[in-house]
Symmetry: C2
Amino acid sequence: MRWTFVNNDFAGEGRSVIQTNDLAIQRGYAVFDYFRTINNQPLFLDDYLDRFFNSAKELSISIPHPQAAVKEIISQLIKKNNIPQSGIRMIATGGYAPDNYTPVQGNFILQQQPLALPDSIQFEQGIKIMTYAYQRDLPAVKSTNYVMGIWLQKRLKEKGLDDVLYFQNNIISEFPRANIFMVTPQGQLVTPAHNILAGVTRKKTLAFAGGILPAETRDISLTELKQAAEVFMTSTTKRILPVTEIDGIRIGNGKAGALTRQLREQFIRLGESVTGSAHSPS
Amino acid sequence: MRWTFVNNDFAGEGRSVIQTNDLAIQRGYAVFDYFRTINNQPLFLDDYLDRFFNSAKELSISIPHPQAAVKEIISQLIKKNNIPQSGIRMIATGGYAPDNYTPVQGNFILQQQPLALPDSIQFEQGIKIMTYAYQRDLPAVKSTNYVMGIWLQKRLKEKGLDDVLYFQNNIISEFPRANIFMVTPQGQLVTPAHNILAGVTRKKTLAFAGGILPAETRDISLTELKQAAEVFMTSTTKRILPVTEIDGIRIGNGKAGALTRQLREQFIRLGESVTGSAHSPS
């Protein structure tokens, strides 16, 4: 039995439901966040909770429990489910609005699923991506709106590509579900500063990267990106994953770069260290 | 008891539910449409059904019943509920995607609610609006994504305004839930041609407008709009409603215009005629 939590109670399989007049269903009006566990320990939970509560505040969505209580419920959910390597999704919705438009007290949902991370073989190969002119609405808010990202999946499949990077006016921003970094030919680490969701993996990478190479956040043009020595994505489910081809152009030598590998190893060590898990799967 | 229809069955109050792992809730991935009834007769139903099925196709969302069967279910819903003047919402979702991202067989929902239309007093006053630089994603698709429209409600309330008109690069497109028309100082009816949802009320208005004044669809700049003789919105819930102020600038004499009034009367007559309702409330 895999348990979900809805509002005030744990719900068994098939019983995690909300009514169809919720603004999440009627108007796509909801926020969420997603973190993972290593050996049943949540990773960087406070960062994700802060972002989740901030997204909700930005969209005037009320979460029915204070942040400390949500943390405690998460701890109970992890114990009940015992899925050591998992992803946990928190959703807060606009609720049952009588006018189908104005947010009211919303529904609150916690879901847990097993999560497999990219392994070393996937890491060494990296991913091939295309770019697409698009800017997410309210980029600092993690809303549930992924219409464009999902709609583009068909095009990606047709082209045999792994992901799509958004840009606007020749300046790159982010993937639908990940941030982007590049290592310049001069050996500097750079990631976009604006019009993005502030990823937790991005933040942690920026925090420790200085020990490996100089790092900064600023605008990056498409042209500059395609001339980078190394490019990688960061996300909760991918950690640090090399991008080896962009719009058919090979990046570096077309394989995982040395600095990307070093940063990934450092990130994995950090995760092990904060969760007290010396031997988490890499 | 107000009935809803979910997938294959009518559901009583509080029993219209879907599981929380549907893509509509997880990723805001769903389409919908909304039509009204006059004296228990659906108005322009085929137009709305065509658009609904087309939206679903564009987003690779599957509706579990063919269009003729949906029409028959709607007819049963109208009988069971007996809400003569109502709005009926059809929703089709991305379904319970195992990867939380790729649409699968979705959920299908029909909901009916009483609907009050703007009366003659509201018509004569018209509405005051502001403009906002924004372009809806995939504008031809009626997705459930209204994050921007709802987010802007707070700003509208603060300013004491009724609605917001989107524009980009100085060209206007539409309201979050309605189309826009203007009558030029030369007496021509114009409505934007591109980057909009093709409204059914818009389409019907364009079809009969030629009998009253010359009409065309083309790009309209913000500047031109603010110098219009008359401006109005069209939508299923508002029919034809004058816009009397835009960004603090009065349109025409600040009251409902004569041509707008004539078009509204014609639209009401058309609704009465196709539903066989000689005395629907105006």
